[in-house]
């Protein structure tokens, strides 16, 4: 009963914040609303007894991605100028596409007989996840670390200003 009430509160927080993120005219407000959306999802993970995933969500999304996004928002001036809707798609077709997608998904949710585990197990999930990473998911785990390393090096290369030798060569070619 009380879990149901908590679920509704978290769902309203998550959906409301997400709507602000997607539809707000003010980008700083959007970015801060992203915090509400991520925190709502953290709460739902805790409600689902997924302790490891909840903490990782808190560290990676709130502590990492959100702060990075905030930096990007603050570092780009004149960012509030772009508030108009997308020219390529148009407002009405975009809303129709989203509504149809939502309708199909919710229809599928109601049509599917969802299986529910009978008993509620409240136990740390880290043991099982750790075994999964060292057992069946060992190769994907290593690949993920290589992808992350490559992405970090790529991000450094992309966001660094051009060094003098390269820019001289570029201006000589022009």
């Amino acid at each position: 009963m009380i879990a149901q009430a908590i679920f509704y509160v978290l769902a309203v927080l998550t959906v409301g914040s997400s709507a602000i993120v997607a539809f707000s005219r003010n980008i700083v407000r959007s970015t801060f609303a992203l915090l509400g959306a991520f925190m709502g999802v953290v709460g739902i993970y805790v409600l689902l007894a997924a302790d490891f995933v909840a903490m990782i969500q808190l560290l990676v999304y709130v502590g990492g991605i959100l702060v990075l996004t905030l930096f990007a928002v603050m570092l780009t001036q004149g960012i509030a100028d772009v508030t108009i809707s997308n020219r390529a798609v148009g407002r009405l077709p975009a809303l129709i596409i989203s509504a149809v997608a939502a309708g199909i998904m919710i229809f599928a949710v109601f049509r599917t007989p969802w299986r529910q585990s009978a008993r509620i197990i409240v136990a740390p999930t880290t043991y099982g996840i750790g075994n999964a990473f060292l057992g069946p998911y060992a190769l994907p785990f290593e690949l993920a670390s290589i992808v992350l390393l490559a992405a970090l090096i790529g991000a450094v290369v992309i966001s660094r200003p051009l060094d003098r030798g390269v820019s001289n060569r570029l201006s000589n070619e022009e």
Binding site: A3, I27, A99, Q116, I129, P140, A151, I158
Partner: protein, 100 residues
């Protein structure tokens, strides 16, 4: 304990908000945030089904999704900042460097 269908509907709603954000907005940073919302929606579906099935496989996959999201954030924001430095715009319609 709410049944799994509640969580799936929440996930579907969250995903569609992300889709409409990507389709409606022209600011690349908002599009980026909407993509993060969609990734979150998928993670939510994975965790709720992992709970319903009493297995940790879904939660392991969420970890990989988060890895990809972190890589995407680092590279994506780097590209956005580099584009902004060169073109002084965050309007997705004006970013056509790859077009000829």
């Amino acid at each position: 304990m709410a049944p799994p269908s509640y969580y799936m509907i929440l996930s579907a709603v969250l995903f569609c908000i992300g889709v409409s954000g990507v389709l409606l907005r022209r600011n690349v940073l908002i599009i980026f945030m909407s993509i993060e919302l969609m990734l979150n929606a998928v993670n939510l579906a994975f965790v709720s089904l992992s709970r319903a099935w009493g297995s940790v496989d879904g939660q392991s996959i969420v970890f990989f999704v988060m890895t990809v999201a972190a890589a995407e954030a680092a590279v994506g924001l780097g590209i956005i900042l580099a584009t902004f430095r060169n073109r002084a715009t965050v309007n997705a319609d004006e970013i056509n460097l790859m077009r000829w």
